[in-house]
Symmetry: C2
Subunit: 195 residues, 2 copies
């Protein structure tokens, strides 16, 4: 009666490596994550990296895409739970304020944008995730009667990531300062028709 089956141990090691990658990319930077540092953080031996993953880059890529996917899923949930897109975006902004722009989670996403410019496969997958969410946001804005939902969606996403980028330099920035301005963009036609 083994405490862990063979396959369970394997899955656990794999998961530990992916979790360690998520943290380390933000902490020390994409290019500074080595097989040995990664393995130490994950509590496994460095040789395991290339047993479970094709390459170090493949591991980092997968960890990044999983983190982005989960984050966008959560954000999508916030959006669809709100009565109208402007309120949904307010909820997203409140969530955004939990990131400081210097924590590993924030930096992971910025590192990912850079890594994507040098890794075609990561680029493709990230673009798909991003366009998917942008489409969801644009659809919500369109249903609410926004005159240019696609542009407003792209604009909103740029504001989010740009805000995060600047918050790393100036921690005094707060989502509450940009919320009223962004609402001007996203609720343009809300005072008009709703169905």
């Amino acid at each position: 009666m083994p405490v862990q089956t063979n396959a369970e141990r394997g899955r656990a090691a794999r998961a530990h490596l992916l979790a360690a990658a998520r943290d380390l990319i933000g902490e020390i930077g994409w290019n500074a994550v080595s097989t040995r540092i990664l393995a130490e953080r994950a509590g496994v031996r460095s040789g395991l990296v290339h047993y479970h993953f094709e390459s170090l880059q493949a591991l980092l890529r997968q960890a990044t895409l999983e983190a982005m996917g989960e984050m966008l899923d959560g954000t999508t949930a916030l959006l669809t739970a709100a009565e109208n897109p402007a309120d949904g975006i307010d909820a997203m902004l409140a969530e955004l304020d939990r990131y400081t722009g210097e924590d590993p989670a924030s930096l992971l996403f910025i590192e990912a944008y850079l890594a994507a410019t040098r890794d075609p496969l990561l680029h493709e997958r990230m673009k798909a995730l991003m366009l998917d969410f942008r489409g969801t946001l644009a659809a919500a804005l369109g249903r609410a009667g926004h005159p240019a939902p696609a542009d407003a969606a792209a604009f909103t996403m740029a504001v989010f990531d740009g805000h995060l980028l600047h918050k790393g330099l100036d921690p005094g920035l707060s989502a509450s300062r940009i919320a009223p301005l962004l609402r001007q963009i996203t609720s343009t036609a809300t005072k008009g028709a709703r169905e």
Copy 2:
């Protein structure tokens, strides 16, 4: 009658190293720039790096700060040359469209934001540059009668950098798509009093 004096050669080598750093940081990433790659690109021997600079990091830091300073100076000129801040921001957006989000110049700035989170001195200097420009922008908006110039300035800068970040993923993005939306933010009170 030497073609180059000793000091002239020194200044040239120094300048070549700084210029090579500017390009390489964007091309291959901050952490991937090594003394040897840098020297080869600059056309000098690798030993020279530590003759002219205290460390590789110090070289990268200085190259980055010079590039950012020059860029912000040019942008400030665009802003002050315009009749009102909203027009100035339109001119800045037109300039922004010359960057693809994948060229070395764009990526240098994004790399710089990340490097600043791990290099206190770079952080301090970049923050000063950024706050200085934000102050200039806010002052212009305030003079034009904007009700919340500081917030609008921070918002505008986030839009710029966020747009650049997203353009790397989706080259289809164009500054012309966000210009009308941003104008909504920056020209709020323009229809009202002007002095």
